[in-house]
Subunit: 455 residues, 4 copies
């Protein structure tokens, strides 16, 4: 990381990140407190006022701090750490104004100037300015969704739960506020159930409000609490319409997650089903069908080891490095390439591919055209030949042995069948690539021929 | 644009477009007013009648105007601007009849002829002819959905909200109309709650109707307002069945939008996860893993700069123009191509590709087979060589320098490793393409060799 | 179609198909009548009994008829028309037993044998055997879904509506039957609302039953009608659980249809958005950007004319026939191919591709490597050259003229820029294909050269 | 399978699998009994106690048994069968502790030590430890979902039903327990409906509890049973919020299944629609359009026979074996390859592809460039030639006859049109592959020429 001016904090500073995370927790408190204090004014001007003041103070500190935090220029991708530029950028945007407006303790100022305790509902609504802080939570989730260290499912799930709870809480508190402000208490949703609901405990009122709100959101709608007057009916209508949107959004997200998580299982099942139907429709012999199935099952088990498509998109130098790391040691120990120059091995290795074979599967068929040869990286294979109609095992090959190289070197049909004995990892290089690489290396070609003849 | 006959308006005329947009607003008014006037007849024959007459007059103007608007022939793709053809086309279709029928002010005509004010419900239902105008809104949305200047999400969202509100409003008004027309007022959904609901304010009635309608649509179903007589039960049944369809349609659309918006994030996350799992399962060294991750992250950041697949579908001449614009200046400044003919540069440029490398990533590996060479468009790279097992920095290359050209020109393994120092943009051309292009240009080949030897 | 045995009807016979369609209508009647007759026994033994008997008689005729309808053998794909085989196949399956069981008029038989009119609920339940006939409707929908002459959307939509209505109707009727069979009428869902509900009109009872059933299915649940005794609660529970499944199925299907219908719009919008972002990020000049956009918009407009991917999957002979139909006449009129043998034209034509260019787009760029040449099928293009930095129009080409052929014939960089004047359709053949085809035709090669020199 | 130590059971042992399946049934009983016994304490300490004890005993046996079951090492993929290792692995994990804790019969122990029968609710809650056993059901479903022998749809469906029923049952029982524990019975959800609900039958209480629970889950919410006190309201809220998640999950899964099942139908319909639109927009002649449609329909009918993409991913030796099985006998009987060496046939066969043609479709067109030749595996074709503008049938070919081989052998335009007479299966080999294979086999080439000349 580059060095910054004095008294300037880098945005990726670990301590600054923790500070930001701490602020997010305070934001969640603000999001809960703002609607709550509107509904239950006694609490707002009582015990919660102290906490609110502390929270506001901390956010005031953050506003000051922002003048000392470097920022990333979007067009040059560079970190700007000049005091003046940082200040201009922050002040000239709407952020600064909103940050300040959401931090000023209007109620306390009013009390200091007028000496009165209650200032009416206007302060309750001014509190909603604090919801501006919610953009921090929104930013956090946007960042987490792109961070592969966290599960997308749970990040998204958390976000949806937060959104739902906030909607439910706000609606409940607002609905309660409506009841307290209605003239005839008997004609309110809660007043028609409980007499003197205002003098009862906050806990009871909050439970009723949340119960109504959740009953409506989930569309259960028991009907034990329902709108009594026109104002309540109106708010109810808006809330219900909003809820269709929210519910559809929840279902849409859940469907998205379910569909995505099932993609791999479907791909696996579909492939196996198609192959198995192909085999039975074409009446393939049972032994061949078993080979195919064993191969497919192994393929899906080792799918994380074989990301050919993803690797193919990487730049060539990185791919070569991967190949060298994976295959170089095995290739160097193969008898054919003993004493061969390092250049040749590096070039060959970068064209090689790993393949996995389950037990009892044919890797090379006798008499087939030679297109590839194989080095056995792990496991064991049998060399077989058909004589007078019966299979005869010629020899057994193990780690670092080679298979199919005779066909490739002399360009003749493969003289043997090669069949895996147990789970094998083999390294494959194609006839054509091998020829291309070997051509300019005369001396290495000689060494390979000598190696071959000595065996 | 071609010139049109006198007194003929082109359909793409800016002023005509604004007129059409203005009509859409009036259509929305009509859609709201038609059901409303059925339910609340006093308003229909009172204050709203004036507005209705004005709106009808404006639509009458539009009918006349349509005779002067050219149209696009669907088979020849040409604009037809002959008065006669336009008139025949308009009159011979159902559109004209419906446009006229939806504009005639039946109620006013009736009043003029009979002198009576109320004409019964028949006029309320005749008003529904005006809903024919809704096809204008439907056409507008169909056009907006295909217009990439507008967000698909919000266009679709707006459409769904409009459809929902219209359904809710129509059902509510119709339900109220049913109550007013039922013999025993006590046995209606609203009469059982409010006495003399017909003599109460329109505002109250409308709120009750909408409240019932939204409660039913959202399936909350509190039960405080419910069908009392058989007729109401019947209508309720149809409305509820219609609502399943509407709700399913809303959820289906929301799911579609959510799934589509998440596609890119999923693609990014899946790729990174797969590669990271591949790296750890194959126990790749940490430094290589970091190179891969840095490359992937850069790739997703610069994805908008590298739309290879989309560009590949464009015609060849456009692709060449893009390449020339992007690469020509950089290639001309490369030392190897100084003094080379313009033809050769144009041809080379059209086969080039831009690539981005994050810092500390290998672009070329020592000893690998030369397949491409690179011109550095921005950033800086190091030339490294391995001697006695340690890396030595030979030199540093910057803008317009070339890398890997020695291997390509002499077809030998790359003599140096090339590694990026910071974020680099490099232009790549393949060995094979370069050879193909240079072959017929003998003199240019000479210049390149001379350039190479002079350095 | 092959000829069949005497007295054997082919399953694809038009009259037989109409008969089957007519039966489907009767099946729908049965599906409605079976639950209805259980709930309202008076009707079942009254007016509906006649209709039921007629319907049963018609299905009895169909059973007999089935013995004379040939069937398709699933393994040989041949039509079997032997009386014996048809009979064995039909009788040996469960179909025959069920067909007969669902046709026997148990109630009438009982009345004939015992002389009594009512036989208790057992006949109501025996009626449910008729629901076996529903498999005909299910088969019909399965066939319609695969028939491209019918919209998938509406077929699916109809099916879902049918399923929903049947579920709602059955549940409602069964619920009414429960009420009529409960000892204490006051303690039933309907009895607690209406006294003597059994002596009231069928119409009223049916409306109440359907109202309850739809209120529950849609989860509106007003609560004005609800389960009163344990039996009703139990049935209600099963119905509600079934409804979650049904609702999820409805939403799933709707989502599927919405997602599918939006695929094309999304593909179009995404491509245009990506290209436009690519152009602005890479700061491509405005004129080039307009060319790209014009090309993309034309491409999406003419997408139905250019189904390259689908056509590529057809067998070679069909593809050749399509090419001949589309291009042969244009190629024959091109000056270069006058007098050339029919063989050559046929071979060239099968390698050609049509392309569309919007106005003012470059088709060939001056100095680019010749890879294709073009025959103009419709529209007009300009030949341009750059001299002293300014564009000069050399000539204008129209239908059957050729562009880019000089570069291809002499393998030199294109001497001119070719730019479309209006919407053009051009036929393209690649350099490489042209050479391959012309090689063995010496005399045709001579004619082409002569044609070229004469111009 | 490898041999294991004495007294060690293999996890894939058939009898052990049945034992595990038997345990799953007991788990389902436990899942039902745990909440039930909390709500209805009399049953728990009565008749169910015996069953509970037996079930606990069986699970105790399974704990002991686990010490004798070999396990699969995740990193080496080997079966570990050493007593010590198995024991250490089991005991050192949380599994063992939880297994034991969920099996100890706390209530019986308490009774033995204190002599009292009831131990309060604490034992009801301790019973919930048994729900730990549910992981067995979860594992079973995870395994079934990957097993292609079972339908994914029904497996998933079953799982969703199980989850839903368990949620509904637990919530109902807990809700009933809340009512029994509330001081003022009149103020509980059930007490306000039924007096002395505790002394009524368990059956009645359970029905009411389940009825409430399902009414809430499905969001029907009739309102006849609803929360009366604050505690009930709180639990209701949690249950409703949980239900949104569950419902969204149900819908998401259903959508996933519906979308997946429709994929194939959509692919088929879209292809046919696109081709048919292409044909009509390009005004292709009716006969050609019919050929295309016949081909497409046949293709979708035989899609299970032609899994080219899936087969292409199999290793080369398996693909060769499949080709040999499918084509070898047909190729050996073709006149051209009589007497040819086995090697050649094996090599040719591995490059062959099967294709299906509907009746009256052109396989080869006269004068087209020869790219493939065909061996007819089944069906019949006509050889046609155009003379003086009319088609003449030259001959008819059947099984094992060849078509198009003259063009390929002499590299001349095809002399005849080949058209299918009925449904044909033909085997195709490309010109290029045939040449590659035949080149090194001089003697076989001679035989083929001789065979050709003899005909």
């Amino acid at each position: 990381y580059p060095k910054l001016h004095k008294y300037i904090i880098a945005p990726y500073d670990r301590r600054y990140r923790w500070w930001q995370l701490f602020l997010v927790i305070l934001v969640i408190y603000s999001a809960w407190a703002s609607p709550f204090e509107l509904a239950f004014k006694n609490v707002a001007s009582g015990s919660l006022l102290v906490i609110d003041s502390i929270v506001d103070a901390i956010f005031a500190v953050d506003i000051v701090m922002t003048f000392f935090v470097a920022y990333l220029d979007k067009s040059t991708y560079l970190l700007v750490d000049e005091h003046k530029k940082i200040a201009i950028r922050y002040v000239s945007r709407i952020w600064f104004t909103m940050d300040v407006a959401s931090t000023v303790p209007f109620q306390s100022i009013y009390r200091i100037f007028t000496g009165k305790k209650h200032g009416g509902d206007v302060f309750g609504f001014l509190n909603f300015l604090r919801l501006w802080r919610l953009r921090r939570v929104s930013n956090l989730f946007a960042r987490l969704e792109k961070d592969t260290r966290f599960s997308y499912f749970w990040t998204r799930y958390c976000k949806l739960i937060c959104v739902t709870l906030f909607a439910v809480h706000s609606a409940g508190c607002f609905y309660f506020w409506m009841a307290t402000n209605y003239r005839i208490k008997k004609n309110t949703w809660i007043g028609s159930q409980i007499d003197n609901f205002e003098s009862r405990s906050i806990w009871l009122g909050y439970t009723y409000a949340m119960y109504w709100s959740i009953t409506t959101l989930t569309t259960v709608g028991y009907g034990d609490l329902h709108a009594e007057n026109t104002g309540e009916k109106l708010f109810n209508m808006f809330f219900m319409l909003f809820n269709i949107g929210l519910t559809a959004y929840l279902i849409g997200n859940m469907t998205n997650l379910v569909v995505h998580s099932a993609t791999r299982t479907f791909a696996m099942r579909d492939t196996i089903n198609e192959v198995s139907r192909y085999a039975s429709k074409n009446r393939l012999p049972e032994s061949l069908k078993e080979q195919i199935m064993a191969h497919l099952q192994l393929k899906f088990k080792t799918v994380e080891l074989q990301q050919d498509e993803v690797i193919a998109d990487l730049p060539k130098a990185i791919r070569s490095s991967i190949s060298q790391h994976l295959f170089q040691r095995t290739v160097e120990t193969a008898y054919l390439f003993k004493g061969v120059s390092q250049d040749l091995i590096i070039q060959m290795v970068s064209e090689m591919k790993a393949e996995y074979f389950p037990p009892k599967v044919d890797i090379v068929l006798q008499n087939e055209i030679p297109t590839d040869f194989y080095i056995i990286a792990s496991g064991a294979v049998d060399l077989l030949t058909y004589r007078n109609g019966t299979e005869q095992v010629l020899s057994k090959l193990g780690r670092a042995d080679m298979a199919g190289e005779i066909g490739v070197l002399f360009n003749i049909p493969q003289p043997f069948t090669v069949r895996s004995k147990k789970l094998c990892q083999v390294i494959r290089i194609s006839h054509w690539n091998f020829k291309q690489i070997i051509q300019p290396h005369d001396s290495d070609g000689q060494i390979i021929i000598t190696n071959f003849l000595q065996v």
